[in-house]
């Protein structure tokens, strides 16, 4: 792997990977350390890199498992949450597949795209989808009508879809959401 390929891999996956580790550990500094470590390892073990065909799967699996392992060590003797136990027993045994990686990448792209929406549009979308507020709550909060919220939401979805246009493949949507009845 040459340096520019490596840099490309880093640019595309650094933030998504940090968030994979962060969702497990809840500690952003630790998450960044884990991800940087994995990237250094990849760079320094070129043999391994060539032998491992699916480098992306390798990266995501390493990051997840290392975050889980650190958490496990921290939690020995402390209370282990059900979620962590679940992640351990279910997810830990399998590598992260391409589909899941695609999902992380699209999620990251949505995150970036929201910032490029018109401010009001971004605010409505974030309150509704990220913070989980109802349309009427948003209408109250922002002193606008529910109709306006609906319009802004529609606009946000339309714009986001346009920004993500080449990222989402139809086949992938079938896998993730199934058919809309």
């Amino acid at each position: 792997m040459d340096k520019s390929t490596f840099k490309g891999l880093f640019d595309d996956h650094y933030r998504p990977l940090c968030n994979v580790a962060f969702r497990i550990s809840g500690d952003l500094d630790m998450a960044e350390d884990i991800v940087q470590d994995v990237f250094l390892k990849i760079w320094n073990q070129q043999d391994l890199l060539n032998a491992n065909k699916n480098i992306k799967s390798y990266m995501y699996t390493m990051v997840r498992n290392h975050a889980l392992e650190i958490i496990r060590r921290q939690q020995i003797g402390a209370r282990i949450t059900d979620e962590i136990l679940y992640l351990h027993s279910e997810a830990n045994s399998d590598p992260i597949e391409d589909n899941e990686i695609e999902k992380y990448l699209i999620l990251d792209k949505i995150y970036i795209s929201i910032r490029q929406l018109p401010p009001k549009c971004a605010q409505v979308f974030t309150l509704a989808k990220v913070n989980g507020l109802s349309y009427s709550q948003i209408a109250d909060d922002m002193h606008i009508s529910v109709k306006t919220v609906e319009n802004q939401m529609g606009k946000a979805l339309k714009l986001l879809r346009a920004m993500l246009n080449n990222k989402i493949t139809l086949i992938f949507i079938f896998i993730i959401t199934g058919l809309i009845s």
């Binding site: 490596f6 840099k7 880093f10 650094y14 933030r15 940090c18 968030n19 962060f22 952003l28 998450a31 960044e32 940087q36 990237f39 250094l40 390892k41 760079w43 320094n44 070129q46 391994l48 032998a51 491992n52 390798y58 699996t61 390493m62 498992n65 889980l68 496990r72 351990h88 027993s89 830990n92 045994s93 590598p95 999902k103 699209i106 999620l107 949505i110 995150y111 929201i114 979308f125 989808k129 990220v130 913070n131 989980g132 109802s134 349309y135 609906e150 319009n151 939401m153 606009k155 979805l157 339309k158 986001l160 879809r161 993500l164 989402i168 139809l170 949507i173 993730i176 959401t177 809309i180």
Partner: protein, 311 residues
Amino acid sequence: MNLIKTISQLINGNVTKDEQAKLNDWKHEAEENLKALKEMQFIDELSPLLQNYQDVNTQKAWDKIHGQNQVTITKSNFDLRKVAAIFLVLICAISLFYFGNSYISNSENLVYDGNKTQSIQLTDGSDITLEKNSTLKSTDYREVALEGNAYFDIAKNPERPFTVHVQGGKVLVLGTEFQIKTRKERTSISVTEGKVKVVFSNKEFLLTAGQFIILSPYEQEFLSNHDITPSNWKNNVLVFENKSLKHVMESIAAYYDFRLEWPSKEMPDACKINTRFENETLDQVMSELEILTGLNFEISGKKIVIKSFKC
């Protein structure tokens, strides 16, 4: 009709029957419409995962790992002999240890060896410190074959035990820390944390933390209470604080892969030893203990025989 608004209402679960019908018509008008709807629904379903999504400074992180000058190309120093050796190990591993684990789909056929101690991280989160001139072959997910010495820190997975194959046997673990040394027909295994099951010559041994076993075709010997912890072994440092001579000697014997012969169980041992050894030879270590305790000993073959001491 404002379709985009209707889609938004649909997502919010607040759509009238009339609007729903119109949307259905529109959806089936063109493939493009259906695609658009699905994509928007997909964005909608994925977005809640953005709660607590963290921004990071990718450029700064890049500068950090790049600036440390750690991103340098390490050239693989392959020569023909090494390739042949790897090949040989590969054949050995396949012929000796193929137990038909074909249900494991993601096999990782990787071989690690080299003239420097190296740290290997497996995809399951396990860490292995492989000593120089040792060979580790990853034959499958959660399965390796070892020739030489290595320290294992295995990630827990009750569903799938981690297996290390050594000549004449195998070691099964659920999630623990232990060390394996192999030399020709002799294999020693010491456990730092957790439990390890050893299968050797049709016999099974269960080892717990602090225990240590030496395996050869002729004998299997259990030992315990040695003091090799991952930190001091990895850094080639042995640290003792207020330890008895017997304890120190057991650790040293294990460290140098010697066997210890202690005078007798009744031998009083009032020594309180505080010392530290770093990258020292067995001779150097023994002469320091000689000064500290007036130790009278003999080294014969792979055995340290303690005769007497004064403390």
